[in-house]
C-alpha cells in the first residue's frame, strides 16, 4: 500500500459522514487514472480544521459545514471553495418502533431521542428543525421533543449507533447514514427540511494537477451517481440555503 512512491499522491481530509462514500469515489477515480493515489483521512470537521491549522499536510479538505473551510481560507491556508454535495436530515426510528412511527408528528410519542450536539453541524441543523417545528406545529410539540432528548452526541454516526444498539427510540441523522440500516426512516416534512452542505477547498501551491482533476471528477456524472446511491443530494444552487 505504501509502495506507490512513483505514483502521484493526494491527501484528502474529509468529514466523517463521508466515511462510506469517499472510498467508492476514490476507487472510481483511481481506476480512471492509475498514476494517482488518494489517501483519505476522516474526522470531525472541527478536528480536521484544527489539524490543518497546525500543519497537517492536507491537499484537499471536505468539510461538513462551510464555516470551517471559510475559516481556513481567511487564514490563507486553503483557497478556492467549492460546494460539493448536500446531505438532508432525516429521523431514524429504532427497529422495534419502525412500524408504529412513520410520520414526523408521531415523534412526540417517543421517550428517548438522541440528537447532535449544537457545537457540531448536525446539532445546529437539528436545533433549527426543532425550533421551526415549534413555530409550525405548536410550541408544545417542540418542548416535548426537547424534553425527550437524552443525549447530544458529537457526530451523526454516534447518534445513529444509539438507535441501532437499541438504547434510543429515535434520532436525527444525515440521510446518508440512514441507508442500509434496520432502522425506520422518517423524512422531515417539507417546511422543516434541512441539509448539510459539504464544501471543498484546497492548498493551491503544492497539490497542482491531481487536485484539480479530483475537483473536476467530484462534479462529474459518475461521481454524482455514487453520491446519489448514498442518498446525498445535489446542491440546489447558491440561493437555496446560502451561508447560515
Amino acid at each position: 500500500c505504501e509502495s506507490g512512491s512513483d505514483r502521484e499522491r493526494l491527501t484528502v481530509f474529509a468529514a466523517s459522514s463521508l466515511t462510506d462514500v469517499l472510498p467508492e469515489l476514490k476507487a472510481e477515480f483511481e481506476r480512471s487514472r492509475p498514476e494517482a493515489e488518494l489517501s483519505l483521512v476522516f474526522g470531525g470537521s472541527q478536528i480536521l480544521r484544527l489539524q490543518i491549522e497546525q500543519g497537517a499536510r492536507a491537499d484537499l479538505f471536505i468539510s461538513a459545514h462551510p464555516e470551517h473551510v471559510q475559516s481556513l481560507i481567511d487564514q490563507q491556508i486553503l483557497s478556492d471553495p467549492l460546494p460539493v454535495i448536500e446531505n438532508p436530515l432525516v429521523v431514524i426510528v429504532s427497529p422495534e418502533q419502525a412500524t408504529k412511527i412513520t410520520r414526523f408528528e408521531q415523534l412526540s410519542d417517543l421517550k428517548k431521542l438522541v440528537v447532535g450536539d449544537v457545537a457540531v453541524p448536525l446539532g445546529s441543523y437539528t436545533e433549527d428543525v426543532i425550533r421551526k417545528s415549534g413555530e409550525i406545529m405548536g410550541s408544545g410539540f417542540a418542548d416535548q421533543l426537547r424534553s425527550s432528548v437524552v443525549s447530544k452526541e458529537s457526530n451523526s454516526r454516534l447518534v445513529r449507533s444509539k438507535v441501532l444498539l437499541g438504547e434510543a427510540d429515535a434520532a436525527f441523522v444525515y440521510k446518508s447514514d440512514a441507508r442500509n440500516t434496520p432502522a425506520g426512516v422518517v423524512e422531515l416534512p417539507e417546511p422543516l427540511s434541512a441539509r448539510a452542505q459539504y464544501v471543498l477547498a484546497g492548498r493551491d501551491a503544492e497539490s497542482g494537477r491531481l487536485a484539480r482533476q479530483f475537483r473536476i471528477f467530484l462534479s462529474s456524472d459518475k461521481a454524482m451517481e455514487i453520491f446519489r446511491k448514498h442518498e446525498f443530494s445535489l446542491p440546489e444552487g447558491p440561493e437555496a440555503d446560502g451561508e447560515k
Binding site: Q46, I47, D117, V118, V150, S151, S154, L158, L165, E167
Partner: protein, 270 residues
C-alpha cells in the same frame, strides 16, 4: 558543619534527574503550552460558561462515587488476587487489565451490550426498574470500568509485597483476619494503595469515550467535564483549552487535599 554525605547522594540522584529530564520535558511541555495558549480572559469565560460548573460538579460527584465503589469492592478483590495462587486467579488478574487496552468507546459499547436495554443484563435490570444508559449511574459505571484496573493492579502488587510474617505475628496476638487487614495490612500497604487510588481517580476524572457511548452527553445529567470539553472543542478550541485548565486546577485542588492523607498520620515517612 553537617556531614558531606549528602553531597554524594545528591550527585547520584542528580544522575536520575539528568536521565529523567527528557521525559519530564515531554510530559511538561504540552501542559505548559496549553497554559500559554489560553488567555486569562478565556479561562474566565470558561469558568462562566453555563456548561462548566454543572459539568464540574457532575465530574466530582461521579468520580467520587466511582472511587468509593472501586475502593470498597476492589480492595478485597485485589487482596484475593494477591493471596490466591491458583491458575484461575492468575487469569482473572490478566482479564481485569483488559479494559485498559480496549479503546474506551468500545468499552462503552460493551457496557451497552451488558447493561443496556437489550443487553445481557437488560431484562434483569428492567425487572428491578433500573434503566442505566443515559443516566448518572451509567457515568459512574463507565468510570468504574475504565479506572478500576489501575487500582486493582497497584493494590495487588502492594498486597503481594506486604510482609506475611507480620500478619502471622498479628494472628498470634489474637487478632482476626479482618482486624489484621485493617490494623496491619492496610497501613503497611498504604503507599501502594494510595498510588493505585490516585491513578484510578485521575483516570476516572479524565474518562471520556466509555461515558460518551454508554451514558451519552446530556448537560446536567451525564455531561462530565471531559465531555463538556469535547463539545466545546467542536465550537471553540481555546475555550476548550481554558476549560481543560480549569479541570486541571480542580484536580490539583483535590490532589492537594488527598496529599494530606498520604502523609503518615504519625508523621514518619517510612
Amino acid at each position: 558543619m553537617k556531614s558531606d554525605e549528602g553531597q554524594k547522594n545528591l550527585a547520584s540522584s542528580g544522575l536520575g534527574w539528568i536521565l529523567g529530564a527528557p521525559l519530564f520535558l515531554i510530559l511538561f511541555l504540552p501542559g505548559f503550552a496549553l497554559v500559554l495558549s489560553a488567555g486569562l480572559s478565556k479561562v474566565w469565560a470558561a469558568f462562566l460558561d453555563p456548561a462548566f460548573l454543572e459539568a464540574a460538579f457532575l465530574s466530582v460527584t461521579s468520580s467520587t462515587m466511582a472511587m468509593v465503589l472501586i475502593l470498597l469492592s476492589g480492595t478485597p478483590l485485589a487482596w484475593w488476587l494477591a493471596r490466591s495462587s491458583s491458575r484461575t486467579s492468575r487469569w482473572i488478574e490478566l482479564i481485569l487489565d483488559l479494559p485498559i487496552i480496549l479503546p474506551p468507546a468500545v468499552v462503552g459499547i460493551g457496557l451497552l451490550q451488558a447493561f443496556g436495554r437489550s443487553g445481557i443484563m437488560g431484562e434483569l435490570l428492567a425487572a428491578v426498574g433500573l434503566n442505566l444508559p443515559f443516566s448518572f449511574m451509567a457515568v459512574v459505571l463507565a468510570q468504574v470500568v475504565i479506572a478500576a484496573p489501575f487500582f486493582l493492579r497497584s493494590a495487588t502488587v502492594a498486597f503481594r509485597n506486604a510482609d506475611r510474617d507480620l500478619e502471622d505475628v498479628a494472628k498470634t496476638l489474637g487478632h482476626s483476619p479482618v482486624q489484621i487487614f485493617f490494623s496491619v495490612v492496610l497501613p503497611l500497604c498504604r503507599r501502594g494503595l494510595l498510588a493505585g487510588a490516585l491513578l484510578a481517580w485521575a483516570r476516572a476524572l479524565g474518562e471520556f469515550g466509555a461515558t460518551l457511548l454508554f451514558a451519552g452527553n446530556m448537560p446536567g445529567v451525564t455531561q462530565t467535564l471531559p465531555l463538556a470539553i469535547f463539545s466545546t472543542l467542536e465550537r471553540d478550541v481555546h475555550l476548550a483549552i481554558a476549560m481543560s485548565l480549569l479541570l486541571l486546577a480542580l484536580a490539583l485542588l483535590l490532589l492537594a487535599l488527598m496529599r494530606r492523607f498520604e502523609k503518615d498520620p504519625a508523621g514518619g515517612n517510612r
